[in-house]
Symmetry: C2
Subunit: 480 residues, 2 copies
């Protein structure tokens, strides 16, 4: 189990990383030398130097917190990553696997055999195993199950039965429970019998004999009140609770809003079945913002930046393919007006300006809306308000920037009518961008999708095809 760090780490994260990289480089230089030279004497010397670097690296790794080792692994290309991974003491493997990102975890697990995986998993609790299990080979999970006692196995199965985005999948089972009819003095004595309290214990859970949650006793109240008082008098009897089926994102927001450190999870009958803690919620917050950003760019999921070329191609191909289709559509829109362009070739040079500004402005709108939706600030009733506002913004931008570009087009090509068409097309395309920038994420949400999902590709598709059609259409009608 990873525990809260109480002793200061010796060096900053960046320093750690730099030193590990430096040692790895020395190690590689020596290896290269060994391969190049073959005199028996040099060989020996080099091997000794070689060993010395590795010992130094090993010592440095042993001194680091698991989270720091995880960070170093994430920041190294695959080959270096595996060199470092092999040097980590086997009993820390489990902790470190929990700390690294999903894609890096996959790369590490792929390098371990079943025996090593079983050994790594041995030190973990049920809730930690549940995090790891989906990435492990099936036979390893089966073997792990048989090694657990009945309670742990039940907990693991329960945790695995929930979706990744449900509270049940993130709760842990390390709770200190007490009865409500004892005095605080008894609680204090009871606690002294523990060797260790679970991390993030800021409150004790008060349950009855059937395991039903009666309330919580914050440590603060335990410490501030007269030891002769009974738990019942002091506890908070209607605490914030979650149920295993709750959405983790809502739970994380509740933790953030109400400044919680830990909270009980109860099932439909009111029975205490687990505990949520702030560290898991911080991870949720981090992952959510990440996935919003990645989704906006049309990246399928978290990508290990050091993943191989083919893996990256696979991660990115879906939205590129969609983009290709939309770009092809835009190209066909232009194709419709080939006759016009042949007559007035300036149109070809000006049309990307109309499309580009529309795309940029639409992306600004969509980013704002996706963010507001993620923070639950956008009520469906506000959609009309938003639409009116965004169209107002686009009108203002259209008149200002479209007017400016219209003047420039007039100056360049000497046609006042061309300048007017340019201004009108830009204004209309900015309005289209505003409209679609509000409607795309709103519609995705109504369809139960993630509003960020490739929104950027979709808005660009609208503003490209739309922009070309509006500009070339207006030009054909008014100029030719």
């Amino acid at each position: 189990m990873t525990t809260e760090l109480e002793q200061k780490p010796q060096e900053s994260l960046q320093d750690n990383l730099k030193q590990v990289v430096a040692l790895l480089h020395k190690h590689k230089l020596v290896e290269d030398l060994i391969h190049k030279q073959s005199g028996p004497h040099q060989d020996l010397v080099e091997t000794l130097v070689h060993r010395q670097h590795l010992t130094e690296l090993q010592k440095r790794l042993d001194a680091l917190h698991s989270a720091d080792v995880a960070h170093i692994l994430e920041a190294l290309p695959l080959a270096d990553r595996l060199t470092v991974w092999h040097m980590v003491k086997a009993e820390r493997d489990g902790d470190i696997l929990l700390e690294v990102s999903d894609s890096v975890r996959e790369s590490l697990i792929a390098d371990m055999d079943d025996q090593e995986l079983l050994a790594a998993a041995e030190s973990l609790d049920a809730d930690e195993l549940a995090d790891l299990a989906p990435d492990l080979p099936e036979d390893v999970v089966a073997e792990l199950m048989t090694g657990l006692d009945a309670q742990e196995r039940e907990r693991l199965q329960s945790a695995l039965s929930y979706e990744d985005d449900q509270v049940g999948a993130l709760m842990d089972f390390e709770m200190v429970t007490i009865r409500d009819d004892v005095s605080l003095e008894v609680v204090l004595r009871y606690l002294r019998r523990f060797d260790e309290l679970p991390d993030h214990t800021d409150k004790l859970f008060v349950v009855d004999q059937a395991g039903l949650l009666q309330g919580v006793l914050p440590l603060k109240r335990l410490l501030l009140n007269d030891p002769d008082k009974r738990v019942l008098e002091v506890m908070a009897d209607d605490p914030v609770t979650f149920s295993p089926g709750d959405d983790v994102s809502d739970a994380a927001q509740a933790f953030e809003r109400y400044d919680l450190i830990s909270a009980p999870v109860v099932d439909a009958t009111g029975k205490l079945c687990g505990r949520l803690t702030i560290d898991a919620m911080v991870d949720v917050i981090r992952e959510e913002s990440d996935s919003e950003m990645l989704n906006l760019a049309g990246l399928k999921e978290e990508e290990d930046i050091f993943a191989g070329v083919w893996r990256s191609v696979k991660n990115r191909w879906a939205w590129l393919a969609i983009n290709l289709v939309t770009a092809f559509v835009a190209s066909r829109v232009i194709g419709l007006f080939e006759g016009s362009i042949e007559k007035l070739v300036a149109l070809a040079a000006l049309m990307p300006i109309v499309a580009g500004i529309g795309g940029n402005s639409g992306n600004q709108t969509i980013t704002m809306i996706v963010r507001a939706m993620a923070l639950d600030q956008l009520h469906p009733d506000s959609a009309r308000w938003m639409l009116k506002k965004e169209i107002g913004v686009s009108l203002a931008n259209g008149v200002i920037w479209g007017g400016l570009i219209g003047v420039v087009a007039y100056a360049l090509y000497g046609s006042p009518l061309l300048g007017l068409v340019m201004t009108a097309a830009m204004t209309l395309n900015l309005m289209l961008a505003a409209f679609m920038g509000v409607m795309i994420p709103m519609t995705l949400v109504k369809l139960g999708r993630d509003p960020a999902m490739g929104s950027s590709v979709m808005i660009t598709a609208c503003t490209d095809s739309g922009g070309f059609f509006i500009f070339l259409g207006l030009a054909t009608v008014f100029l030719l």
Copy 2:
């Protein structure tokens, strides 16, 4: 001071918001009726109904946690927001101002007079005042200062002397300090004299007479150990500490990695000067991800989604203007080849495909890199590795998608050479996108800038102008 919520809120956030909006709508309907009708009898009835809705709304707001009221204020358009704000009890104003986002806070403060602001600030601690002060009128801040005692004033001035992104600006001063030569029993008795412990107290700070930090005593250790032991024997004597000049982003990462709840802040002499807590760090994490996402889209800063049209225009104009310049450059690149387009108008229809795919792919690369940099996963030594990988990915995509589009172009226009030019141009532009996608954020960081800052606009500029130049250039050389 906002305290951790211990009692369960009655309703979910969305429900609260819906009910407030419903009540506001009823209230507005009634107001409209009053304006339309003028019979003395109706007037009275309507006024009564009107009052009843407002009373109900008032009651509902009083029952909500400050964080929930803040959320409702953020999710309402300006007029409704101010209606609700006026109904909030004056003594809660301070708490709520602390919870809302910067732009919403500004809109609320703009609506308050100096007396109201002074009253709102009265209930706040020095560190909370420091958060608020930059948004308050200068004379209000001056008046506030005179109302504080010497210690509070010194704290406020110290907090204001740090930049927003320094630990000193985010630390609070609510610390429980103890000496190392007393027994745990004495500490326990000492704590019982408090009415309340500061939020997020998971450890006590051990200082000597000069105020130098000797160590920390986690509550866990206080509870688990024999009360006869002395603090010195039980405390952690080399805890994780921060200094007021540290970067908050590094501090937040340390909290996340080491699962901290609170940590002491010490100055250069080792004197304890404040405390960092997880709730402030969660806000930092949330704000950082937000600003990355907004910066990528070229939005200047957090924008209140209900801000007026002119405010939004101002927030977005800078990057739109830059985009306009880059679009104009791209347009001039096309202008160079007007002769070629006149001879082969198909080029006009095909060129946006080359530019569009390049932009999309470049945005994927840049998003990945910005994210990895924000998580400190990208070591400068890895830049070359990244570049090689991204160029590999772009080569693969170029051959696959470029090949496909080449075949389509051949089928559409009947020219195999045109197809080949299309494939070559797409591959080259994808490689340009990969190169710039790595170099832009890396260069921005080397210049000490935020790597996300408008990266998306810059990469699009490169892939647009570059794509047009590559495609039209190749076409001019090989086809005409």
